[in-house]
């Protein structure tokens, strides 16, 4: 079993050798993105409870894994997220407003920005690992010097798609990295019941490539490991399995109640490992970050999030008839009829 890669310790001290690879402005960017993600997320949960947002999977507690992954990718790389990668998506350049739109039920929020190499959010557990392997295969055939990163949860490792994708990547030596955010819960299934192996990273040996285990609440370790593995994938066509050990601090989604299966005692040790507190301790010791800067910073981020909410809510609603678009190039007759009926009904309602 591989040991856990770590750079930033709980007390905010770091591995001085490893940290040299990360420039100061990037460290500030990481902190900013992590705090923004947390506030964006908290606001989304509040909006959901007010009826202004749909079902949402909270990313709280997993900000280091998210931001570390998002920043480790090159713009030419591909990223295949599932639904608890909102922070990574934001770090990659997806607009936080679009993510609000999407979770409020407006599929236009899923449209990738121009030139983006991110797949849309994949809700189906684990199916996008095959997409990642496929994109990597395509890139290899075309001779592109890129890598592909997929991210999914511990639950996805029990899916058939996980085996198929990793096996395929191993056999065809594809430039792909499979990141698993092991947040210890697949809805209400605890990690102990997910797999009989002690770790997820050790599963890699069955596919003939490396598996590594990283402290997923340590943004530096996540960033450096993923970046390193993407480099190896890109230049040597060696896939990798990276286990990011983290913890889901909220319910599975807004339609779940974790208190039915998870106790406060289980959560407590992970509060101590909070990824943002840890990075703030480092900033304080290293760069003289203080209470005053923090307060002003939090206000700034909060204003940014509020503005995002205003922008998102100012978007005109999609029309009910939009539901008929985008599926067929030539709409079949029965859908046309249904669309007319909806339009007629809408016309009635408007009068």
């Amino acid at each position: 079993m591989s040991e856990m890669i770590s750079v930033l310790k709980l007390d905010g001290t770091v591995d001085e050798e490893k940290i040299k690879a990360i420039p100061e402005d990037l460290i500030h960017k990481m902190y900013r993105l992590m705090v923004f993600t947390r506030q964006w997320n908290a606001k989304a949960l509040s909006l959901q409870r007010q009826g202004r947002m749909g079902t949402l999977a909270s990313v709280r507690g997993q900000e280091a894994s998210n931001i570390g992954m998002g920043l480790a990718l090159e713009p030419t790389d591909w990223f295949c997220p599932s639904f608890r990668e909102t922070g990574a998506q934001i770090a990659r350049g997806t607009s936080p407003k679009d993510l609000y739109l999407y979770f409020a039920g407006d599929s236009r929020g899923l449209r990738p920005p121009e030139g983006s190499r991110d797949l849309p959010i994949c809700i189906t557990v684990g199916s996008h690992l095959a997409h990642a392997a496929g994109i990597a295969w395509g890139a290899k055939i075309r001779g592109e010097k890129i890598a592909v990163l997929s991210s999914s949860g511990d639950g996805s490792t029990s899916q058939g798609d996980f085996h198929e994708s990793l096996n395929f990547a191993g056999v065809f030596k594809l430039p792909v990295v499979f990141a698993i955010q092991n947040n210890h819960w697949a809805i209400s299934v605890p990690f102990e019941k997910q797999t009989a192996t002690k770790t997820i990273s050790e599963k890699a040996c069955a596919y003939g490539f490396d598996g590594v285990r990283v402290d997923g609440n340590d943004v530096f370790a996540v960033y450096l490991t993923i970046k390193d593995r993407l480099n190896i994938a890109r230049s040597e066509f060696k896939p990798a399995l990276v286990e990011l050990v983290t913890y889901r601090m909220d319910d599975h989604t807004t339609a779940d109640d974790a208190s039915r299966y998870r106790t406060e005692e289980m959560l407590a040790p992970w509060r101590e490992k909070d990824p943002i507190d840890r990075l703030r301790k480092y900033l304080t010791a290293k760069f003289g970050w203080d209470e005053k800067k923090e307060t002003a910073f939090l206000e700034e981020i909060s204003a940014e999030v509020e503005q995002t909410v205003r922008d998102f809510e100012a978007e005109p609603h999609p029309k009910p008839t939009d539901i008929f678009e985008h599926l067929y190039h030539d709409m079949p007759w029965h859908l046309k009829e249904q669309r007319e009926e909806v339009a007629r009904h809408q016309g009635e309602a408007a009068r």
Binding site: K43, S46, Q48, R49, Q50, G51, R52, T55, A104, D251, T254, A255, D256, D257, S259, R260, R310, E313, A314, P316, H317, E340, A343, R344, H345, Q346, G347, E348, A350, R351
Partner: protein, 429 residues
């Protein structure tokens, strides 16, 4: 200006929620995103934050009320300065003026030989709102759904509306077993106000369910109740003696746990009491498992948690489960599954007093045992009057499958076990 916070769908397809508590009072200042009310849905207890900043001017509900999605939860007087700059999405959802003025899309031209539709296009567009399930229910009950007035959101026709329409339409039907769901209102035409003012409270939740279940049991099962009494003097001494041992294991030992064990043994000996009548095939179904439900009085109403496999458990184990299940029934953390799968039921009204009771069987079980308060009374033993503690018992049975003699034997065996705790030790598996 006044803003109304309405109950959103906080889960996936929640229709209603129960107010647990308000976290603010009328007159309080609230900020946007501040939690203002706790509600319980089918799925979870959640705290809901206010979308507005301002002063709470109205709280239209109280804890315990059931609120439907879209109903007001809270009214806030917002100050202009703190009002959200953006109109609510629902408001913007209405099409702008020019869209409203747009003519309706033309219908397909009719072929000359076709009869023009009887209803103009506008009426077609007024097609009633109802789910496919409700539409099917209407078809099955022979109701034209277009004639039903919807009570749901936006005039939506609900299952209840259809059933009510069916009841209004139907002539008093002959009583059929399947009619339980559509019982004609026997109280129709009563003027309750005639002799004085009244107040109306809708039956809901556990109360409503109890009403349905009891009406069904009472109207389908021919009940007979057999009474007896047990001298529990010695049993109480045993309970007293072993109480400390139980407490060491954090369990409260009660007479009820002995009664459940005794009943389990009786069910084993008289398996026709641990059975159900399959009304479709006319077969008696003997169950080879012994799951005893016990009626529990809770704030929400009567609940019947079930202890599984009582024949395989010690009295102490049963006492522990009794304690745990009744606590969770009372605080409503009990799972629905823990109140299913019973094969026999015991109703213990002991603590509340009374001497006799005729319990109603929990359909589709065939018998129910009721125990009442044990009290000291003079009894005759060896031709002398002595003071003993006597517990009255009643067993109601389904006379379709059991007879008075069966009940007498069943009850006598239970009484024998209760009167001689040592016999339980020697005889009970």
């Amino acid at each position: 200006m006044r803003e109304v916070f309405r109950l959103p769908d906080v889960g996936e397809g929640i229709a209603e929620a129960e107010i647990v508590e308000y976290l603010v009072n009328v007159g309080d200042i609230v900020k946007a995103d501040q939690n203002v009310v706790r509600v319980e849905t089918d799925k979870a207890v959640v705290e809901l934050p206010s979308p507005f900043s301002g002063v709470v001017v109205e709280i239209p509900h109280k804890p315990g009320d059931t609120v439907r999605v879209g109903d007001p939860l809270l009214v806030v007087e917002t100050e202009a300065a703190v009002r959200p700059a953006v109109p609510r999405r629902e408001e913007r959802a209405r099409p702008p003026e020019e869209e409203k003025a747009r003519p309706l899309p033309a219908l397909k031209p009719l072929k000359p030989e076709e009869k023009p539709p009887e209803t103009p296009p506008a009426a077609a567009a007024e097609r009633v709102l109802a789910t496919p399930h409700t539409r099917r229910l209407a078809r099955e009950l022979g109701i034209d759904i277009a004639t039903v007035t919807g009570s749901g959101r936006g005039g939506r026709v609900t299952d209840e509306d259809v059933r009510e329409a069916a009841v209004r339409k139907a002539p008093p039907p002959p009583r059929a077993p399947t009619a339980a769901a559509v019982v004609p209102p026997a109280t129709a035409g009563f003027d309750f106000e005639k002799y004085g003012p009244t107040k109306r409270v809708l039956l809901k939740g556990v109360r409503k369910r109890t009403a349905e279940v009891m009406a069904r049991a009472w109207s389908t099962i021919p009940h007979v109740t057999h009474f007896d009494e047990a001298d529990v003097t010695e049993l109480l001494q045993v309970v007293e003696r072993e109480r400390g041992l139980a407490e060491e294991r954090k369990v409260k030992l009660t007479v009820l746990s002995f009664l459940i064990k005794a009943a389990a043994e009786a069910l084993r000996r008289f398996p026709q009491f641990n059975a159900s009548l399959d009304e479709t095939t006319g077969e008696l179904v003997y169950k080879e498992y012994f799951n005893v439900g016990f009626a529990t009085d809770t704030e929400a109403g009567l609940m019947v948690p079930v202890i599984r496999d009582v024949d395989k458990k010690s009295i102490l184990q049963i006492a522990g489960e009794l304690q745990d299940l009744s606590r969770r029934a009372r605080d409503r953390s009990i799972e629905l599954d823990e109140m299913r799968g019973g094969t026999f039921t015991i109703s213990n009204v002991g603590a509340l007093g009374g001497r006799w009771a005729t319990p109603i069987i929990v359909h589709p079980e065939v018998a129910i045992l009721c125990s009442l308060r044990a009290r000291k009374q003079p009894v005759v033993r060896n031709d002398e009057i002595v003071i003993r503690t006597i517990m009255p018992l009643a067993v109601s049975f389904d006379h379709r499958v059991l007879d008075g003699a069966d009940a007498a034997r069943f009850m006598s065996y239970i009484v024998a076990l209760l009167e001689d705790p040592m016999r339980m030790l020697v005889e009970v598996a």
